[in-house]
């Protein structure tokens, strides 16, 4: 066990993968000599050489297409996309090739490609550097989508993603790169790679289930603490929130959420991505379907608005925060009017 930042845990996880299997290759822009703009690949080129840790020409479609060819040849490419907003030039290769080749070839050709993507906002960046594109990939059959919220999970889940024989989109919560935590590098047994990304109950609770992932897990924990403390009006004022970190966004570990909602009867889902068509929409629909008779209130979504990620001086308002989460919790508790109370004719 050692204390390290989330970025460092990812670095350690990559190092371990490279050391373990020489079919693992790291590819991306500025990931070699520079060690990545977030230093996640720091030192790896020096240690494993430029044939294992390869700086790529500046074209995301080219990088993913090359990874496909390498996977055909039996390699396990781990690709870094420099920022969330730069994954789109590779969208065609990811959606029409990476996601579908195993299916297309009736299982003959495997695509064990891991695509690492620093994602999310909150770092005061310019446009295209703060987006949350995970829902596009969760809607794409053939892909798996995973994210992490702690250094330990970062380490373990990245191992699982790399050893998984399916392509995995691995979303890294960039504003939590500097979060520190204890990491047991041996937590994952090499052969114990599945199931990847079971959801984790982070804070147990009984009144409301609060589901989130990636950067907002820390915010959710704060919200649970605040709700548990109440506003000073005594016991009647406190809310017991159960916080669940999804970890895997596709497929979602629905059973863990169902178990929680069956208990609490209330569901709040939070993510930074735009509301319409986000992960929260699907989870709300799924949970309504599976827990219809347990629900005491409509599931509430606390999300980015349906606008492009705004200028950074707007982001504190765009991003779901503790207050907006508690506001939604209150609504499921009937302490505030439902948003659409008047909408029904």
């Amino acid at each position: 066990m050692a204390e390290m930042t989330l970025a460092k845990a990812l670095n350690a996880s990559l190092r371990r993968s490279l050391a373990h299997d020489d079919r693992v290759l790291i590819m991306g822009e500025d990931i070699g000599t520079l060690g990545g703009v977030f230093r996640v690949t720091d030192g790896l080129k020096a240690e494993f050489g430029g044939d294992r840790v390869m700086d790529m020409p500046l074209a995301e479609s080219g990088i993913l297409g090359m990874a496909v060819g390498l996977a055909f040849k039996g390699f396990r490419p781990v690709v870094e996309i420099q920022f969330d907003g730069f994954i789109y030039p590779a969208f065609d290769q990811i959606v029409t090739q990476v996601a579908k080749l195993h299916y297309r070839t009736r299982g003959n050709v495997r695509m064990p490609i891991t695509i690492r993507v620093p994602f999310g906002g909150g770092i005061g960046a310019v446009e295209h550097h703060s987006e949350s594109p995970e829902a596009y990939f969760a809607h794409t059959a053939g892909l798996r989508v995973v994210t992490c919220s702690t250094p330990q999970d970062a380490h373990t889940l990245l191992q699982q993603a790399i050893w998984c024989d399916d392509p995995v989109l691995f979303f890294e919560p960039k504003r939590r790169y500097w979060t520190k935590g204890e990491v047991d590098e041996d937590a994952l047994d090499r052969d114990d790679v599945l199931p990847m990304g079971s959801a984790r109950v982070v804070v147990p609770g009984s009144d409301v289930t609060l589901v989130t992932y990636g950067p907002l897990v820390a915010t959710a924990i704060d919200a649970a603490a605040a709700a548990a403390a109440g506003s000073g009006g005594g016991d009647a004022d406190t809310v017991s929130i159960e916080v669940i970190d999804l970890r895997s966004l596709a497929p979602v570990d629905v059973d863990t959420v169902v178990a929680s909602v069956a208990k609490t009867g209330r569901l709040v889902i939070a993510h930074e991505a735009q509301r319409t068509g986000g992960i929260g929409a699907d989870l709300a629909a799924e949970l309504t379907d599976r827990c219809f008779y347990h629900l005491e209130a409509a599931p509430q979504r606390v999300t980015g608005f349906d606008i492009p990620y705004p200028a950074s001086r707007h982001e504190e308002h765009f991003l779901p925060d503790l207050d907006r989460i508690l506001d939604a919790v209150d609504r499921t508790m009937g302490r505030r009017p439902a948003l659409y109370a008047g909408a029904v004719l």
């Binding site: 290759l25 044939d51 790529m56 020409p57 074209a59 479609s61 080219g62 993913l64 297409g65 090359m66 990874a67 496909v68 060819g69 390498l70 996977a71 055909f72 040849k73 039996g74 390699f75 030039p89 065609d92 290769q93 029409t96 090739q97 195993h102 299916y103 297309r104 070839t105 009736r106 299982g107 003959n108 050709v109 495997r110 064990p112 059959a141 053939g142 798996r144 998984c164 024989d165 399916d166 599945l194 199931p195 596709a250 497929p251 979602v252 570990d253 629905v254």
Partner: protein, 376 residues
């Protein structure tokens, strides 16, 4: 109309007007014409070998015609004929070793034939019984890429992998003239040059991308692009099986020896429709087609062989018989293919268990069973 943009485009010179003389070793009449240094690369291709190439050409054409007939008869959903492009495909594919790897588009069925793809397995895609027919690893050829240009990157990546593995195998990307416009094909050239990857970019310039003439895609011979990326290129008469073989052998030899990529533009012509769904009478000038009919890839080999005594009526008849047998096997392999059981559509979405898909398969199975049980 505010300006004459479209006229200016149409009046530009056809890019297929040869820039420098494309490599040709057999002229349309079947005469052997010298072209250094390529003569050396086929010095060993004697009468027997040429007859064997001729047999390939005859068979792949026969199969292609059969497939078109199968489509017309409703046995196939679609077929993309390669009529006219037999020499480009056979001449290049016959150069490869089993451990080389091909990434192609939908039209390279003669390449697939040369790689040893089973005739039936060539048809699954077009009959709709599966998304692909063969196991790429058994024949060293990926199943067709339909999204134009994507496979050029795969070939480049595979070639980098072969190099990393210290092998001397090569990868080949087949694509059309239209594909050269796609970003992916251009990126593949940048990367191939950057990594000195042992990859051959084999462009069949058949003058058309569906209804669009190559002049829409290229203002210069297509092969002229590669040198700017640092990749040597060559133009070849794509209807001359010997010349195609020669340029391909040279490119492959260079790639095996660490010389990196080569770009080959095989100048040929799509004699048929784009696919069986297409109606080229809407856009092809019949005179153009007729002109190209005079450069038929089979006729010249036949003429040459007959002249050189490598082909007599008996051999021609036996080749025709083998082609008919292949066609019959092809047809049988097609009509025998039955619809796959419904639940197999859930197979292989993932290589590892997947909560979501596994549950949907189970539910849909129960749903289908409910009909059988008369519950519905």
């Amino acid at each position: 109309m505010p300006s004459s943009l479209s006229e200016s485009r149409e009046s530009q010179p056809r890019a297929s007007a040869p820039h420098d003389r494309p490599v040709q070793l057999l002229d349309p009449s079947g005469r052997r014409v010298p072209h250094a240094p390529y003569d050396d690369y086929v010095a060993d291709v004697s009468g027997d070998q040429l007859a064997s190439l001729y047999e390939d050409l005859v068979i792949v054409r026969r199969l292609d015609v059969e497939a078109t007939a199968l489509q017309r008869q409703g046995e196939l959903g679609l077929w993309p004929p390669l009529l006219g492009q037999e020499a480009a495909q056979v001449g290049s594919a016959r150069v490869l070793r089993p451990d080389d790897f091909v990434f192609s588009s939908y039209r390279e069925n003669a390449v697939a034939y040369c790689r040893g793809v089973k005739l039936t397995e060539m048809l699954n895609v077009w009959r709709g019984t599966a998304l692909s027919g063969w196991n790429p690893y058994e024949v060293g050829m990926a199943t067709p890429a339909i999204v134009i240009g994507t496979q050029a990157l795969h070939a480049m990546g595979y070639a980098v992998g072969a190099k990393l593995d210290g092998e001397d195998s090569v990868a080949v990307a087949y694509f059309g003239d239209g594909a050269t416009t796609q970003g992916d094909v251009n990126e593949a050239m940048v990367f191939a040059a950057s990594f000195r990857a042992p990859v051959i970019f084999f462009c069949q310039n058949n003058q058309w991308a569906i209804s669009e003439p190559v002049t829409l895609q290229a203002q210069r011979p297509i092969a002229d692009r590669a040198p700017g990326f640092g990749i040597p290129s060559v133009r070849v008469d794509g209807n001359d099986v010997l010349a195609v073989m020669a340029v391909m052998r040279r490119a492959v030899e260079q790639a095996r020896e660490g010389g990196g990529p080569t770009f080959i533009e095989a100048i040929t012509y799509r004699m048929g429709p784009h696919t069986t769904s297409d109606d080229p009478s809407r856009y092809v000038d019949p005179l153009e087609r007729e002109e190209w009919a005079g450069r038929d890839p089979l006729a010249r080999v036949e003429a040459h062989l007959r002249e050189a005594g490598g082909l007599d009526d008996a051999l021609a008849a036996s080749i025709a018989r083998r082609a008919d047998e292949a066609a019959a096997e092809f047809r049988a392999g097609c009509t025998e293919q039955v619809d796959p059981p419904p639940l197999t559509m859930f197979d292989h979405v993932y290589a590892e268990p997947h909560r979501g898909v596994d549950e949907q398969r189970r539910q849909f199975g129960e749903y289908l069973e409910s009909f059988e049980e008369g519950v519905n």
